[in-house]
Structure formats: structure tokens, C-alpha cells
Amino acid sequence: MLQRLAVFTGKKIIRLFLLLATVSIITFALVAMSPIDPVQSYIGADVMRVGTEQRAEIAAYWGLDKPFAERFIKWAGAMLQGDMGTSMIYRESVTKIIAERFIHSALLMAFAWSLSGVIGFAAGVVAALKRGSWIDRAITSYCYTLASTPAFWVGLLLMMVFAVWLGWLPIGLGVPAGMLAGTVTAADYIKHMILPGVTLSVVGIAPIALHTRQKLIEVMDSDYILFARARGESGASLFFRHALRNIALPAITLQFASFGELFGGAVLAEQVFSYPGLGQATVEAGLRGDVPLLMGLVLCSTLFVFTGNALADFFYQMVDPRLRLQKEAQR
């Protein structure tokens, strides 16, 4: 088991490095080809007061006058030594920006992820056990509606109801505006996280609920549930002993595999609520041609999504006895 775990992890790490390298090259190339002029966005509103000479100097300072390959090699070399460079728009080290924002985003995503996982799973189970009833129809139609609703729209709707009309929750930002960092309480953080978090999870509920419902219906129709009933099992014990573990594994796998959508959703939700997370920073960096920051963020999100998929793989291959033992037998 330990040895297999080591092999599994080793393989994954090699893949990860190849992936990160590829993603870096592609992103770098895409940014280089994009029509956005980084110097322009660096100067921003001062455009009238900056002459051609100064522009060239700025470009030289950031190394923007060098050819693509040279710039990339320079960046990659620094990156390998752990230096992600300095953000052009925030004028701070990329590492520091990402670290700060990561905490915000991680909390937000963890909140949304667990919420959608628990609610989605429970909804799927209820729908399947009450198949054909009004509650099943309500849950499935809710899921189908949500699956075709864009996250930002849900976000705007929630914002309108809970922040604008009811005024229960703040409209946006990560902390109250104009407050000193030291005086911000945990309650403030949580309050600001609720709306974007719920927005993010509302969209994530649908896939897990529909998937769980489908799986559980299959399981409840299976021969082994029939036999368990013939052996006198019924009700809650039937579900917990014979069905739960058979649907939990696919659900967990799916939930980890959805890290990509989670991050994508976070970008939108953070944008709608001006929530200072990685997503919002990514949009900023992209729109303003901030190459070092964008590269840092892209690598960071790649790592994040990759970890999710690796965990999904892990659950799929290492925890399901059929796959685990078959693989062992093949050896």
C-alpha cells in the first residue's frame, strides 16, 4: 500500500511539473501576443505626462524591449529560484500578493465547496429515495435550472435581494471599507464571505445532486439491494449499510474533480462582489498585461486544479476496492 502510494505520488509530481512548464510557455506566449500594451496600463492615468523616451525607459526597466524567448528564460530562471517577480500594477512582490489573496479565496472556496457538497449530496439522496414524488421533481428541476444559470447572474440576484433590498449583508469587498486592518473582526470576514460563497455553492450544488441521485437510483435498483431486502434489511439500515458507501465514493470523486469549475466560478463571483481574492486579481492582471502576476496566478491555479484532480484520482483508484485490488493483482 505505502509503496503504491509512493508510486502514485511520484507519477503525479512528474506530470505536474510537465503541466506547469507547458502552461507557463503557453500563457507567456499568449500574453506576448495580446494587444494589451503593458507599458500603457502601467502608466495608467499619467498618460499625458509621459513621453516616448520615458516609455522606452519603462519598457527597458521591466525588460519589455527584449525578445520573447529571452524574457521567458529570464522569468523561468527566476521562477525556478523561487522568485516570482514583482507585480507591475500593485508594485509588490507577486508571492506576497498571491499569499494574501489566496487566504481570502481559499476560505471562500472551501466554504462554497463544503456547502455545495453537503447540500448537493443530501438533495440527491432525498430525490432518489423519493423518486417520482413532488420533492424529487422539485429538486431535479431546481438543479436543471441552476445548471443553466450563469454564476454571475445568481450573484447579482443575491446581491440585489440580500444586500440592496434587505441590507442584511455587505454589498461587496472582503472587509468593511475604510476600516483599519487591525480592527477587522472575524465576524466581518465571515459576513463578507457569505454572499460570494453562497453564489459559488449554489451553482456547484446541481452537478453533485444530479449525479448522486442518478447513482443512488441505480444502487437502489441493483440486485444487491434486492438481496439485502430479501435478507430482512430495510429502511435506514438498508441505506446506511448497503447504499451509502456505494454512492459516497463517486460523489467525493466528483467533488474533487470539480476544482476547475470551482476556481472558474470564484473568478466570476469575486468579480461581482469585488471580493479581493485570486479570481479578482487574475482578471486585473489579465486585463492590464501584468505578466509576472498573471504568470504567478496561472501557475497557482493550475496547481490548485491539478491537486483536486489528483485527489479525485486517488479516491477513485486507491479507495475503491475493485480498482485497487485489480491493479494489485495485475502486478
Partner: protein
């Protein structure tokens, strides 16, 4: 008094046809069957004759859209849902067809125990493993790791507790090696000798007559003949129903004479004897109404010409 007595059992399914109109499809008709303690009764018939449904009906595990009428009595009492709840998995046990009836994610040993087991049964199950010559390691395997023979023994062992009085075995010998068939049949014979009533549902007539006391032949959802197993011999002249005879003569060692035509699918609402369009002795009168069960010699038959 028979341990299990099924009278006039009919099963129908509610089905949705085109649009959303509902339709009742009868899949089993007026079935009568009785079985005593220590007796083995085989129900034979081609697949699609509805014999597995009989097992599920007795166990009360038919799907929700199934409706049954008639009576099933166990030990002299009506076998209703409340009664079944306490008997299922204790006195009445099902031996399923294949390993797909075991939960793929639970180890065999753990899976064999049910929430109806006391400490006594717990140790009894361990003893059964020895009796069936299953090694201790088998308890730690997952169902998909069992070989065919092992799986068979495990499935039989689920039912072979001393508290069991009625065993319903649904196709226990499909695609099995002859040695394993013999082994499986021996197990049932043994259980019957210990006083169990065994209802053996199978399409394998040869296996059935080797151990059964009585054989019921099922055709298109009804039992058309119940005969002592000894009547299945020679050219089948002892048999009462043309279909039983044809089935017997279709076996390789009995002439290999195929039966022309196909079994009518259930629920067509056919009139008269269901075997009429394949029967070489059919007359017009056969198609007028269903044949009632009649007692002839020591058997029961549904055919107007039976002697």
C-alpha cells in the same frame, strides 16, 4: 399442512405506455403451489416464463409497480407484509443467482451478517464456512474476488442457518461446471434432509429432477403441470401436459426434438390455452377459455386432453 401454500397467485405490473396512459400487464396467472417441510419442489420453465417473479412475490420484494392477488400462506397463516418483515432473512431465505447480488464494496464476511443475527448466528455462520470448506481468508475477500464455485457456496451459506425453514433458490446452477452443479444440489438435498422446505427455481430440468420431489412446469406465467419428479423418465409418457412432454423430449439425451414456435410474451391478453398455437393436440375448444387445474393421477395439470 404444507409449510408454504400459494393459491391463485396473480401478479400484474402497472406500466406506462405511449403518452402517459397506464396499463396493467399480467405476468403471472392463478398460480397454485404447495410445499412441505423437508420437501424439494422445483419450478422449471424457459426464461421469461415468470418463475423468478414467484420467488420475489413470496419474499415480498417485487418492485413498487407490481400488484399481486391471491393468497400466500406460511405455516397456516396469511403471509402479509408485517409477517414477512419478521420472517424475511430469518425463517425464509433467498439464495440468489449470482455474485451480483452481493454488495461489491463490502467484504464477504461482514456482508454475510445481517442485523437479524444474534451472537449465536454469528458463530453459526463461521461454522458454515468450515462446513462448506471455505477458507477463513474468504471472509476477507470482496465479492468480485470470489471464484464461481466459492461464490456459489457463499450464496448458499447465507441461507443455510438452522433458523431457516424455507429456502427459495433462484437459478442456483446457471452456467456451472457439472461438478459444481452436483455440489450445489448436494447442499440443497442436505438442507432438505435437515427439515427445510426448498423451492428450487431453475431452467435446468435435469438438475431439478435429480433432487426434487415434485416438479412444477411454468409456461407463460402459469404453472401448467405439477408432477412427481419420477414422472420425468423414459419418453415422458407419464407426463400429463403436452408442453411438459415437449420440454422433456427437447433434452439432448431424450431425442433432442425442438419445440417449434416461441413462448407468447405475457400480458397480451390471449384467450384460451396459452400453449395452443404450439400444441400438436390443440383443438378448437382449447382456444375458448383457460384450462382449469385438474388433479390427474398424483399430479396437477391444465390441459383438457391430459390423461
Amino acid at each position: 399442512m404444507p409449510l408454504l401454500e400459494v393459491q391463485q397467485l396473480s401478479i400484474a405490473f402497472q406500466q406506462y405506455t405511449k403518452g402517459s396512459r397506464q396499463q396493467m400487464v399480467t405476468v403471472m396467472e392463478e398460480l397454485d403451489l404447495a410445499i412441505n417441510e423437508g420437501e424439494i419442489v422445483a419450478v422449471v420453465g424457459a426464461s421469461g416464463s415468470g418463475k423468478s417473479l414467484l420467488a420475489h412475490a413470496i419474499m415480498g420484494i417485487l418492485p413498487a409497480n407490481a400488484y399481486i392477488s391471491g393468497s400466500i400462506r406460511y405455516n397456516g397463516e396469511q403471509l402479509d407484509e408485517a409477517k414477512l418483515k419478521s420472517l424475511r432473512g430469518s425463517e425464509i431465505a433467498l439464495v440468489p443467482q449470482s455474485v451480483s447480488y452481493l454488495n461489491p464494496l463490502i467484504r464477504v464476511g461482514k456482508q454475510l451478517q445481517t442485523n437479524k443475527d444474534s451472537i449465536e448466528q454469528h458463530s453459526e455462520r463461521k461454522g458454515l464456512f468450515e462446513r462448506f470448506r471455505l477458507g477463513e481468508h474468504v471472509a476477507r475477500l470482496f465479492p468480485f474476488q470470489l471464484s464461481g464455485g466459492m461464490a456459489r457456496k457463499v450464496l448458499v451459506s447465507t441461507a443455510a442457518l438452522s433458523r431457516t425453514r424455507l429456502i427459495i433458490a433462484d437459478e442456483p446452477t446457471p452456467g456451472m461446471h457439472p461438478d459444481d452443479v452436483a455440489e450445489a444440489l448436494k447442499q440443497f438435498k442436505q438442507l432438505a434432509a435437515e427439515g427445510c422446505a426448498v423451492l428450487l427455481i431453475t431452467h435446468d430440468i435435469e438438475a431439478a429432477i435429480r433432487i426434487a420431489d415434485k416438479v412444477a412446469v411454468c409456461y407463460a406465467g402459469s404453472i401448467i403441470e405439477i408432477a412427481p419428479a419420477s414422472d420425468f423418465s423414459g419418453a415422458g409418457n407419464e407426463l400429463r401436459h403436452p408442453y411438459s412432454q415437449a420440454l422433456w423430449r427437447a433434452l439432448p439425451q431424450n431425442g433432442f426434438i425442438p419445440i417449434s414456435g416461441t413462448q407468447p410474451s405475457m400480458g397480451l391478453g390471449l384467450q384460451g390455452c396459452l400453449f395452443a398455437d404450439r400444441c400438436n393436440r390443440a383443438v378448437d375448444a382449447c382456444k375458448v377459455s383457460r384450462q382449469e387445474s385438474r388433479q390427474i393421477r398424483s399430479g396437477i395439470v391444465r390441459c383438457m386432453h391430459a390423461t
